[in-house]
Amino acid sequence: MVGNKTVLFVFRMILGGLFVYAGVVKVLAPLDFAQNIRNYDLVGRSLSFIAAVVLPWLEILAGAFLIAGIWRRGAALVVSGLLVFFIALTVATIVRGLDVDCGCFGAIDRKAGFGVIIEDLAMLYLGLCILFSKKGRSSKGTVPLKKANSPGSAIS
């Protein structure tokens, strides 16, 4: 996994930006997105509606948190989890031979196919790099160690 601070920062900006964008276009047309989900024919009308209302906000918040650097590993976990789910969904759609719009970026017409899987895998790589980065680990966990090892803190 990538450990370079600058590279991880760029990864967070790219992934965060893509997720915020994907969420915003869906928030603007929740019913179109609900129909997209329904077209996958996996869940009923109510669940499609609930997912269409909640999922875009999860994308926006996780993306924004990644960009802002708040809870970055938690946000990376959400984003990676969503991407694993999207990949599984797209594979299942191809296997079932369904011809549906992926609904990835709102009203942009794109079929759920191999191109979408490759994109999602690329984004998943970025997400996992952030999730398993040492830089992203909590400062809380390192504070006691720093204090214990710090001669200054022991003297004062």
């Binding site: 019913l31 609900a34 009308r45 499609s48 875009p56 906000w57 918040l61 809870w71 938690g74």
Partner: protein, 163 residues
């Protein structure tokens, strides 16, 4: 707290926050859903003033009057197996880029009835939205679709005109 548990808690908190924000922002839409407004389709009629969802009975009345243009939005192979008498085939999946010239030549004020398989099919609505985009002013989507028409025992026609 272990690092893994902390990350998981962050993720769960993000999920909870998303639910709260989504509920707050979409409260009016959720109320409409609970009232059963989107039972037939996730369709906001206000955005498409020329499109109306109609029942099978209304569709049958329009078919009997005979002045409306009937459009079958299903795949051509399904149309050949049987369709509403006088209906023309216009598979929604083939109209993504442009509508055929004979459809575009129709008067914009005339009534058009669109249908698809029935049940939860969406191709009729998709086609209706495209017709709306071409400024047709009276588009009716027959929600019962072909399945409803057959179940009601109404007349059918094969592609070669056989009844």
């Amino acid at each position: 707290m272990s690092e893994a548990r902390r990350v998981l808690r962050q993720a769960l908190a993000l999920g909870a926050l998303s639910v709260l924000v989504a509920a707050a922002v979409n409260a009016p839409l959720i109320r409409r859903f609970v009232r059963g407004e989107f039972r037939e389709s996730f369709f906001q009629a206000a955005e498409y003033p020329g499109i109306r969802l109609i029942t099978l009975e209304e569709g049958e009345d329009l078919w009997r009057v005979g002045t409306a243009v009937l459009i079958d939005a299903r795949r051509a192979s399904l149309y050949k197996e049987g369709h509403l008498p006088r209906a023309v085939s216009l598979p929604a999946e083939e109209t993504a880029k442009t509508l055929p010239s004979d459809v575009l030549a129709l008067p914009r004020e005339g009534t058009i009835v669109v249908y698809c398989e029935g049940g939860d099919c969406q191709s009729s609505l998709l086609l209706a939205k495209r017709l709306h985009g071409e400024r047709f002013k009276d588009i009716r989507v027959m929600t019962g679709g072909w399945a409803g028409w057959q179940a009601a025992g109404l007349p059918e026609e094969k592609s070669d005109g056989r009844k």
